[in-house]
Symmetry: C2
Subunit: 412 residues, 2 copies
């Protein structure tokens, strides 16, 4: 049983995590928020207080921290007495924050795979490049390290695990589909850090098909999906973290990820990419200023956090799973629908941040209660799905299923 949470990061997802931790501080204990910019942590705390989100009286504190600095992170973990660290900072921080957790015995939870700022779309399976190299170290230390506990990766991995355990004898394919049918009213914006967003799409698209890694170009393979609530939507095969774990851990021959993109997004992305403006390699201006083009694009785009107040519409994210059960072929779609405006009203963030942040808090609560305090490194599909999805039903991200018996809520 662990308690007291340290949240690393102070962006849109951290805001959601802070609110949800506050709403469940009877289970989680003290809440600490740390990022390079103290003022951003303080703004989140002000927002939590404004909504009276703390369930019971308890600590809610801001800290300035460079989370690349392992010793400083260890010192803060020890000073705060945090036994659970939720890392929702930049994807470049994972390895250093994980080190601080393993060395102090705090549980580690993140929502996205580690990235090296100078590399894009590395060799699959991506987890084997960084995280999985440390499995033995984590187990030896008895450290609970939960990888990718956001929505995708995260909840979609639990959907896959649920299908694997309950609905199929044998799974042939898992197609994860992520549609944001929301509207932020701006000419163009990304829903999370533009740098991380674009980096997902500038390299090769890796998918797992017929038990092999297949490489495609971005926007090369598109398909229209007919989804509950958001209707028919075009989505494109995209590289994504969970393809790299599900394929290896569940032994399913086909795992693909599809993300919805409108023609306008694709056009803007294509222009920027073809001009070289999404490059992570520095260029020099005629005046001698050296700068990474992608960072300039990030600087001119709207701050994703600023989109929340005017965001309307819904997201639909889920797993189409095909296979056989009792000798018969079947297909199920396990999914969640979230609403941008409801998310903003509850926690002051838009729906994309909401779906990423709430699951990390559910994971933290399961570590706190012991159900997920596994004392080793685990991807979400290695953990029992039912308590996770049951908790998410209660705290804002209910699971539904659509199959031959209709479209209905799932209770656990």
């Amino acid at each position: 049983m662990k308690k007291n949470v340290l949240i690393i990061g102070a962006g849109g997802v951290a805001q959601v995590v802070a609110h949800k931790c506050a709403q469940n501080n009877d289970v989680l204990g003290d809440i600490h928020i740390a990022s390079r910019t103290l003022a951003k942590c303080e703004a989140i705390i002000a927002s939590v207080k404004e909504k009276n989100a703390l369930k019971t009286d308890g600590k809610l504190e801001a800290h300035a921290l460079d989370a690349m600095d392992v010793d400083a992170t260890k010192a803060l973990i020890e000073k705060t007495g945090a036994q659970i660290v939720i890392n929702v900072g930049s994807a470049f921080l994972n390895m250093s924050v994980m080190s601080a957790c393993i060395e102090t015995g705090a549980a580690y939870i993140d929502t996205a795979i580690h990235e090296d700022p100078m590399k894009i779309c590395e060799t699959p399976p991506w987890y084997a490049n960084y995280e999985w190299k440390r499995r033995e170290e984590a187990e030896k230390a008895g450290a609970t390290v939960i990888l990718g506990a956001g929505f995708d990766p995260g909840v979609v991995n639990a959907y896959a695990k649920l299908a694997y355990d309950e609905y199929f004898d044998k799974i042939d394919s898992i197609d994860i589909v992520d549609i944001n049918a929301g509207n932020h009213g701006r000419y163009f914006a990304t829903n999370f850090d533009p740098e991380i967003n674009f980096r997902e799409f500038t390299g090769q698209v890796w998918s797992w098909q017929n038990n092999e890694w297949i490489s495609n170009k971005m926007f090369e393979i598109g398909k229209e999906w007919d989804l509950p609530v958001v209707g028919k939507q075009k989505a494109y095969m995209t590289g994504h973290d969970e393809v790299h774990s599900l394929s290896q851990i569940l032994g399913v021959p086909n795992v693909r990820f599809w993300m919805g993109f409108g023609d306008h997004y694709i056009n803007v992305f294509t222009v920027l990419k073809n001009l070289g403006l999404l490059s992570e390699q520095p260029v020099k201006t005629a005046e001698g200023v050296e700068v990474v083009p992608l960072k300039v694009v990030k600087a001119v785009l709207p701050d994703p956090g600023s989109l929340a107040p005017n965001y309307t519409g819904k997201t639909c994210i889920g797993d189409f799973v095909k296979g056989t059960k009792d000798g018969k072929e079947r297909e199920v779609f396990i999914y969640n629908v979230a609403d941008h405006k409801e998310a903003y009203e509850e926690v002051g963030s838009q729906g994309i941040s909401y779906t990423a942040g709430v699951p990390a808090v559910a994971a933290a609560m399961l570590v706190a209660t012991g159900e997920w305090d596994v004392k080793k490194m685990a991807n979400v599909e290695e953990l029992p799905a039912q308590p996770f999805l049951g908790l998410l039903n209660k705290i804002g991200l209910p699971t539904r299923i659509k199959d031959e018996n209709g479209d209905r809520a799932l209770e656990f």
Copy 2:
């Protein structure tokens, strides 16, 4: 009678000017090329020598010069004995180079209006903001200052003057149409300095209609034109230097400029502009690097000079003039067609640089022979058109006319 030429600048247009001066050094005398980067001047000299372009033996020398430094420019004019300065450097240099010329008595010739790096599309008429303020000063000093002697502005002003003198009693409208039907084979590139190119289109579009300044947005007003050789082409009303002088000097009630753009150019431009990437105002990256987005765009785009070897196709630039002659309404189109590949074979530059550079050399030759050595400031339409167009017929940019009597070459 003046001789010896100092060329300021070492880009694509300067390359054309150097070659054409060399081909006519029996009239022009010594040739000097100066820019910030000595190596660029030396590369132009090597190209002139490779083509054996010098008509008679003569000086051809490179110099390093910061042309924003008036004293340094004066010293170079005096050292080289240049009596004619052709300024084909950045549009930000005009005022300082002009000062050096007026103070030393050298004739000044440029091909584009002065620009302030921090301002875009100023109050019309643009010439009144900088150049025309110095008319009196030039006349008092007896300095020959010829403004805008490229193709547009320049040759199109002479076409207007020719129409005014020869083909009409009264002109109702001048529509200048600039079509580049060439193909450089790259995803996207500008034909001259991207910074100057984009700056033309990011502000308001000023046109002179019914004796008033009218403001529109870029790409707001488009029209299909049917032109000789290049055929039907869509062009958009654009702000351009010559609208600002022709309207004031010839007293014509309607002067408009139309530039051809393909849908692809417009799409790329629109994306960059709407994202804020064409801004001349600095932004700061998350890492604290301060940089002007437009300069980063310039850094990632192809160097316009690099397009020349593979450029194919033709340009068509000319004046549609409407009015009355002997009581009857009439319309003429006076124009030139240039070929990218022929330009490259002759002078190592593409057609856009060729059409801008050759007229400046024709102007210099007319100053050298005295015909245009007017000892005051003048836009091209204030000078006799026939000797200028007659010389251009001989040195690479022949004039044609299309009217009720057909389509034919014009001889002078």
